[in-house]
């Protein structure tokens, strides 16, 4: 459906330093597939998601939707954005406080001049689980609970009948009790409408809850990807292993030292090597520190980018 090939996104920061927020990513989202993109803060998840939506222009690589590369002309983008929709982390912020639910959901149809706004809005709302829609149409965001707001945001995306949903931390700011509901909704939408989804998260539990496939991102690259069960129960990359180990209930913790790395200064060789827990116990680390790893190709099979992984 939606595919990124060899994607690079750079930002020029202060003092002329360039942040390679996304530094070579191949990622495909198949029809009706839910892919979870996990990684720690600042590794480039959001940037990747935004680039997939055409909100950010890649410095290299391209986005391919349904076999055609995305073009950045205004018209093409507009058409593209009927197909691919976005759900953001903060539902309160994603809704204009001055727009009613109706206006918020109808915004997309209005931009795209879709006919029959009323029924589009109603059906989107009920599909997002806000039933009966009339009860919600004229409310303002502040009169809704967090879960309801997130449903309104989802309804707003659904109103355009998209094929792909990109959700950036869709439940991170919601209450624990509400989180399950929203995740169930995404699952149901996939089942009922055949929607594909890319869910960006730092929460492995969430990936376990809903994703078909997981891609683990570290410093602008995907370092491990594959079917959820395979990756989360049998991680190959030391980074994934560490991430899983710090979850509660895990038998033995591997706590990585140091802070999240800096995309303006990507280490040579394996970009994870300065924090890698395997390095101290590995006899020969020359490959890790000097030999760059290839970019993982687009495939659904488990794959890992690590010199030490036994694959």
């Amino acid at each position: 459906m939606l595919e990124a090939t060899d994607l690079h996104v750079e930002f020029s920061g202060r003092g002329g330093r360039r942040a390679r927020a996304v530094d070579g990513v191949n990622l495909a989202i198949g029809a009706g597939e839910i892919v979870a993109l996990v990684g720690e803060s600042g590794c480039g998840k959001t940037t990747l998601a935004r680039t997939l939506l055409g909100l950010e222009r890649p410095t290299a690589g391209q986005i391919v939707y349904d076999g055609t590369p995305l073009s950045y002309s205004g018209r093409a983008l507009k058409a593209f954005r009927r197909q691919v929709q976005l759900v953001l982390q903060d539902p309160m912020g994603s809704l204009n406080p001055r727009h009613t639910v109706h206006e918020a959901v109808a915004e997309g149809p209005r931009i795209h001049n879709l006919p029959d706004e009323e029924s589009v809005v109603s059906s989107a709302l009920s599909r997002a689980g806000l039933r009966p829609p009339e009860r919600f149409l004229h409310r303002y965001p502040h009169e809704l609970s967090g879960g309801q707001r997130q449903r309104v945001v989802i309804a707003g995306a659904l109103a355009l009948d998209p094929k792909v949903l990109i959700a950036d931390e869709p439940v991170a700011s919601l209450d624990a009790s509400v989180r399950g509901e929203i995740l169930s909704l995404i699952l149901r939408l996939r089942d009922d409408l055949g929607l594909s989804a890319l869910v960006v998260t730092h929460d492995l539990g969430l990936a376990w809850n809903i994703a078909d496939r997981v891609a683990v991102m570290y410093l602008g690259r995907i370092v491990e990807s594959g079917p959820t069960e395979a990756i989360l129960t049998n991680p190959q990359h030391p980074y994934t292993q560490a991430l899983l180990s710090v979850l509660p209930d895990s038998p033995q913790r591997i706590i990585l030292t140091g802070e999240p790395p800096d995309p303006t200064q990507i280490p040579t060789g394996c970009r994870f090597h300065p924090r890698c827990q395997l390095i101290p116990t590995t006899p020969d680390t020359t490959a890790c520190t000097s030999k760059p790893l290839p970019i993982l190709p687009t495939t659904t099979h488990p794959q890992v980018a690590c010199h030490l992984a036994t694959s």
Binding site: A176, T233, P260
Partner: protein, 312 residues
């Protein structure tokens, strides 16, 4: 060492907002207790009430006994003396807990100076010692908060809390805004330090798994009330606690694979609490009488829970 007796907090903003409604809880010396609950359930209000830090719009009832002394009726001078030297607070550190225009060394030393525990070079030495305890190099004392990462800032907050060697540390969502890995670092640090110094800890979070990791006992709040209190190991009995626990699945647990679970309905509005058990509109196992009769905490096994279906 800390005892909350029927603590209540009501905000007078427009109407009355009963944020905390009769919370009783006690903390033994060296014990770590976790306080969980969803947003708006009154956790922070409890924490602030402990040192009378609530805004003037808040009316506090009940008693807060700290070493047998009621904090709520203390003289101002005494209260100032108690603050930080007996009990200190760690806020969610990543953003606003530190004064952005003061060097962190000064901020750590400030309580020492205020409470006349050290000054001048003695204070400096203590600051270095504290920074090293939380795993930061001593030269960081000269840094400003924005020069530190979120995790480092949180460590500074912890160092600051330890400054006057208090008997109690209150940690309000100390790891919420932090990354998974950093969160693990900070939690480990807290756990190690309180064990080392024998400090009591009241830790607040909305993530039960985080609390279970650090604390001996857990208290779960819903709509300003405690609904369950018990050891951190073992199964929850109150349906709300259970739902909260289920919200964070165990990776690898086939039961939760592709089956996210949560709680239907919305958190209650503190100004319009439902009658009876305030949880009943969202309760998956509610029975008719839940709508009418309010249940107090009642013992069940090694814990207490406020549910009509429990302990019958």
């Amino acid at each position: 060492m800390l005892e909350l007796d029927n603590l209540s907090v009501t905000y007078k903003a427009g109407g009355d907002i009963p944020a905390v409604r009769g919370v009783s809880l006690s903390l033994a010396a060296g014990e770590a207790v976790g306080l969980a609950g969803e947003s708006g359930s009154g956790k922070s209000s409890v924490a602030l009430a402990l040192l009378r830090l609530l805004p003037r719009s808040a009316v506090v009832g009940g008693r807060v006994l700290l070493d047998g002394e009621d904090v709520l009726t203390m003289k101002w001078g005494r209260l100032r003396a108690v603050r930080w030297s007996s009990a200190s607070i760690v806020f969610q550190g990543a953003q606003h807990g530190l004064n952005p225009v003061q060097r962190i060394g000064e901020q750590i030393a400030e309580p020492l100076v205020v409470h006349r525990q050290a000054s001048g070079s003695a204070a400096d030495a203590r600051v270095r010692e504290l920074l090293e305890q939380v795993g930061l190099p001593a030269w960081r004392a000269r840094s400003y908060p924005h020069e530190l990462s979120g995790g480092q800032r949180q460590r500074v907050m912890i160092a600051m809390a330890l400054a006057c060697s208090p008997q109690l540390i209150i940690a309000d969502e100390p790891t919420t805004a932090l990354d998974l890995m950093v969160q693990a670092q900070v939690l480990t640090l807290i756990r190690d330090l309180i064990a080392l110094h024998g400090i009591s800890l009241l830790m607040i979070s909305h993530d039960l798994s985080v609390l279970a990791d650090v604390c001996d006992r857990l208290a779960v709040m819903y709509a300003g009330r405690l609904v369950e209190l018990g050891p951190s190991s073992g199964d929850f009995r109150h349906p709300y606690s259970q739902a909260l626990a289920a919200a964070f699945p165990t990776v690898g647990d086939p039961a939760s694979r592709l089956a996210p679970r949560g709680l239907a309905g919305d958190p209650p509005d503190p100004q319009q609490l439902p009658g009876g058990c305030s949880f009943h509109p969202r309760c998956p196992v509610a029975i008719e009488s839940c709508a009418t009769s309010d249940v107090q905490l009642r013992p069940v096994g090694d814990r207490t829970a406020a549910c009509i279906l429990v302990g019958e």
